[in-house]
């Protein structure tokens, strides 16, 4: 009887080990890179939501999806898209003249009630957090007026925080990341969706283990 119990417990332990998630195999620090694309709309969606697919890159996330959501508290209703766009343009976009000739908007905790949120749902787990978003629209004809055709193409870049904690393979991790890409709009006059594509890099660390408490005094010590 005792032997049978031991055999049963051994088999159960083996099954438990085999069923152990892959996260146990992942290192304490991890760099994940991927390409993404998707659609979204600042004007017709409240809150604005950009979402799409992870199309290439690290196998840990390829096949997954992503979302970015912006807190639009205080923005005009989507019922009047022209007024909403005017509000966005007048409150977020700042023009820089020659020789730069472009408009730049920053979306962060200082221009919004809170930083935009992001989430990645990968085949084996999820990650999420907050981000800083900067959008640049070139003034191609250098007249200081945002023409309708200039609204058809823009650039975006930013950095992000990876929140404690993910799920699945990403359960132990937090970290930081950065991204950049371009946005196309086929018909801004009729508030069409933006098509966005770009690349993202995330540096993940195991935040469940104790982190080094060294402050800059110790670095200074190293510099001596």
């Amino acid at each position: 009887m005792k032997h049978r119990i031991c055999t049963f417990l051994s088999a159960a332990a083996l099954i438990a080990i085999l069923a152990c998630p892959a996260s146990a195999q992942l290192p304490d620090s991890l760099r994940v890179e991927f390409d993404f694309e998707g659609i979204g709309n600042l004007v017709t969606m409240s809150p604005p939501l950009y979402a799409g697919d992870i199309t290439a890159g690290d196998p840990l996330v390829v096949g997954g999806t992503w979302t970015v959501q912006i807190d639009d508290t205080g923005w005009p209703s989507t019922a009047d898209p022209a007024a909403r766009w005017d509000y966005i343009f007048n409150n977020f976009f700042v023009y820089t003249g020659a020789p730069s000739n472009h408009w730049k908007a920053t979306f962060n905790q200082f221009t919004l009630p809170a930083k935009p949120d992001w989430e990645v749902i990968a085949p084996t787990g999820t990650l999420g957090g907050t981000l800083v978003l900067e959008i640049t629209i070139p003034d191609w004809d250098i007249d200081g007026v945002l023409d309708i055709d200039e609204r058809m193409f823009s650039f975006f870049n930013g950095t992000l925080m990876v929140m404690k904690y993910g799920t699945g393979d990403f359960t132990p991790y937090c970290g930081s990341g950065s991204y950049n890409g371009t946005s196309n709009n086929a018909d801004p006059a009729n508030w069409a969706d933006d098509f966005v594509s770009g690349h993202c890099l995330m540096d993940l660390v195991n935040c469940e283990i104790g982190t080094e408490a060294a402050s800059w005094s110790s670095v200074k010590g190293l510099l001596r």
Partner: protein, 230 residues
């Protein structure tokens, strides 16, 4: 000479003409070195992938107001200044960290500047209209630990000036961006690696416009530039 010719033919194949204005798209990946402890603060190295490769690059931050480190004090005055002047702490629970804006919004300080030099002899350059560096506060203690400074991420926006363009780009100006990581590689010197992905796929991009970069016109056609992305 042959290499340069092939490169120009290849690049020219990407040119799209719309009315009198010509657009072209370039992409790039970067791998270089630098340090916030150096003066000037310059990250430089190689263009390792993309239509602008092979070549070299530099990105320079204005450090004219930064102090040097005094070896006689326990603090690192230079890094302290950088952290205090550029970085803002976000204490959102679970998302703690610092975002550094170079230059600080509304400061009027000089923008970072940049140059790309292709091996074919072509030049692009201008300013960074955006340069954001983020440090994760992994232990959420509000103090930038050595390990946290060692692993930074950044994103940058580029504006290319016609006055800085040369070679194939002599009459071009434009806009672009990139993102990547700045990681300490030597803890004793705080030397860092500057990386824009990747060796196999270039993630930095730039759209350049030929002609009329310095005079106002209203003749641009977006049918042309959109076709690049289809």
């Amino acid at each position: 000479m042959v290499t340069a010719g092939v490169a120009c033919v290849f690049v020219l194949a990407a040119i799209v003409t719309a009315d009198a204005i010509t657009f072209r798209q370039e992409n790039f990946a970067l791998l270089g070195t630098g340090s916030f402890m150096d003066s000037p603060v310059q990250f430089n190295g190689d263009i390792i992938q993309g239509t602008l490769a092979p070549g070299t690059f530099w990105i320079r931050l204005d450090d004219s107001m930064w102090p040097t480190d005094d070896p006689g004090t326990p603090e690192n005055e230079r890094i302290d200044y950088v952290l205090n002047h550029y970085f803002i702490y976000d204490n959102t629970a679970g998302n703690e960290g610092w975002d550094g804006y170079f230059p600080p919004v509304g400061s009027g300080e000089y923008l970072p500047s940049w140059r790309f030099y292709t091996a074919a002899g072509d030049t692009l350059g201008g300013d960074c209209n955006s340069f954001v560096v983020t440090i994760r506060d992994v232990d959420a203690d509000g103090i930038v630990d050595e390990s946290e400074w060692s692993s930074k991420v950044f994103s940058a926006g580029f504006v290319a000036y016609i006055s800085r363009s040369g070679g194939c780009f002599d009459t071009f100006c434009g806009v672009g961006n990139c993102s990547g990581a700045i990681d300490v590689t030597n803890q004793s010197t705080l030397d860092e690696e500057f990386y824009v992905p990747s060796a196999s796929s270039a993630s930095g991009n730039m759209v350049l416009r030929d002609d009329n970069c310095h005079t106002a016109t209203e003749s641009s056609s977006w049918g042309g530039i959109k076709s690049i992305y289809r």
